[in-house]
């Protein structure tokens, strides 16, 4: 590391060190920085190569998801050979080939309320590349609690957003995503990429902007987007920036101690226990689906493709739990396209039946099943 700090002519970084505003000092700051990227999906795959290439000294990657064929149009760190492999470890290996001089640490587990503070404490800055509100709010709250700058990024349709939160702005105020939206929206309120679709280049644009903001912040370059939300609409195209003003409602909802954070409920993505039902893998699903004492329920709308190839009944999500009335079967497996609707259905059934029935949901849905 000393060699890298002291050698102004290290060819790896010479093009950015030559930038007068960046220079040797900027490079030293990046090499000394520890950045955690949560999510190695569309946003993470765009941000990570530039963070590694720029020489962020330590990069952590958290993702418990596995590479699937339908990821490859936008998650270009991965190849066909990586399908089925964990994203965090696969991304870490690829990035280490790009830059062997830095330290890359993979966390192949899901981020939950119990491991978040411990993992975050080891890093200087967090990049949010997740795909659900639950994890986003948990990351936001943890960054506020620990005082870690957060580079937020998200996409929807043909639009995306970037901002830097949880660090003092020019006026000294330290704002968070809760100053925009104090309460965590329900996961079903807005469709995700699996349900609404996404153009591959959109997370590439937003993830690159996140890497830009992280590098600017750490190298003390330019004007980071602190307490400012940049929205990018690729359709028009246009960039639109707003100043985030303090919202007392948002500040009130933040956990102010570690104990309070551990008591927060963000939803099944983050609580680790999944609240009375069990998410199963395609292999477990295939085993359960052959059993006579198990009922498989497709909760998609009528006519959605591909058709489910195992014996099942079709009860669209809005018809739960009434659509299952009178069925005496004890074990129910819910299935949908991506696993999100079946998870909502599982919650509905747990609330309706309590412990009286065993409820399963196929994680990753039929899309994941087809990958096997």
């Amino acid at each position: 590391m000393d060699k890298l700090y002291n050698n102004n002519d290290n060819p790896r970084y010479i093009r950015q060190v030559t930038l007068s505003a960046f220079g040797v000092a900027g490079q030293a700051r990046l090499l000394g920085a520890k950045v955690l990227v949560v999510g190695a999906g569309g946003l993470g795959c765009a941000a990570l190569p530039y963070l590694a290439g720029a020489g962020i000294g330590t990069i952590g990657i958290v993702d418990d998801d596995r590479v699937a064929l339908h990821n490859l149009h936008r998650q270009v760190l991965y190849t066909m050979e990586d399908i089925g492999l964990n994203k965090a470890t696969t991304a870490a290996q690829r990035l280490q080939l790009l830059n062997p001089d830095i330290r890359i640490q993979a966390f192949s587990e899901r981020l939950t309320v119990t491991n978040t503070l411990d993992i975050f404490a080891r890093f200087d800055l967090v990049v949010d590349g997740t795909d659900n509100f639950a994890t986003r709010y948990m990351i936001n709250d943890a960054c506020m609690l620990l005082g870690k700058p957060l580079v937020y990024g998200s996409v929807s349709g043909m639009e995306g957003q970037v901002a830097v939160f949880c660090t003092a702005g020019e006026d000294g105020s330290r704002l968070s995503y809760r100053d925009l939206f104090p309460d965590q929206p329900g996961e079903s309120e807005f469709p995700n990429c699996a349900e609404a679709g996404v153009l591959g280049v959109l997370p590439a644009v937003i993830g690159s902007l996140q890497a830009t903001e992280a590098i600017k912040f750490l190298a003390k370059l330019g004007h980071p987007l602190v307490n400012r939300l940049l929205t990018c609409n690729l359709n028009e195209p246009l960039f639109f920036e707003i100043d985030v003003q303090p919202n007392p409602e948002g500040a009130r909802r933040l956990p102010v101690t570690s104990a309070a954070f551990l008591q927060m409920t963000y939803g099944s993505y983050c609580d680790g226990s999944m609240g009375g039902y069990t998410a199963i893998s395609p292999a477990e699903f295939n085993e359960l689906a052959t059993r006579q004492d198990v009922l498989v329920v497709d909760v998609r709308e009528k006519g959605e493709r591909p058709a489910l190839a195992v014996p099942h009944i079709a009860v669209p999500l809005p018809n739960l739990p009434a659509g299952l009335a009178g069925l005496s079967i004890h074990t129910i497996v819910l299935v949908c396209q991506s696993g999100r609707r079946s998870e909502q259905g599982a919650k509905i059934l747990v609330a309706h039946y309590g412990p009286g029935k065993k409820i399963f949901t196929l994680a990753g849905g039929i899309e994941q099943l087809q990958q096997q």
Partner: protein, 77 residues
Amino acid sequence: MEMTVLLFGRLAEIAGTAKLIIPAVEDTGVLAAVMHERYPEMATVRYIMAVDRQTVTSPVLLTAQNSVAMLPPFSGG
């Protein structure tokens, strides 16, 4: 007098456009009511308003010179 309303995400989908020119209204509360009347589905969507690129947390007075943006949260990644 008219004013400009910029729409993002789901709100732009509902309106079928990212930019609306509407007759000026006196405050953000009236603007929300006008928008919800014109596009009832908007009343079911969570969003914030920004007046002249500053988020607002309570109703503020408007003039035709103000531009208002309506932004829902995004979660995709």
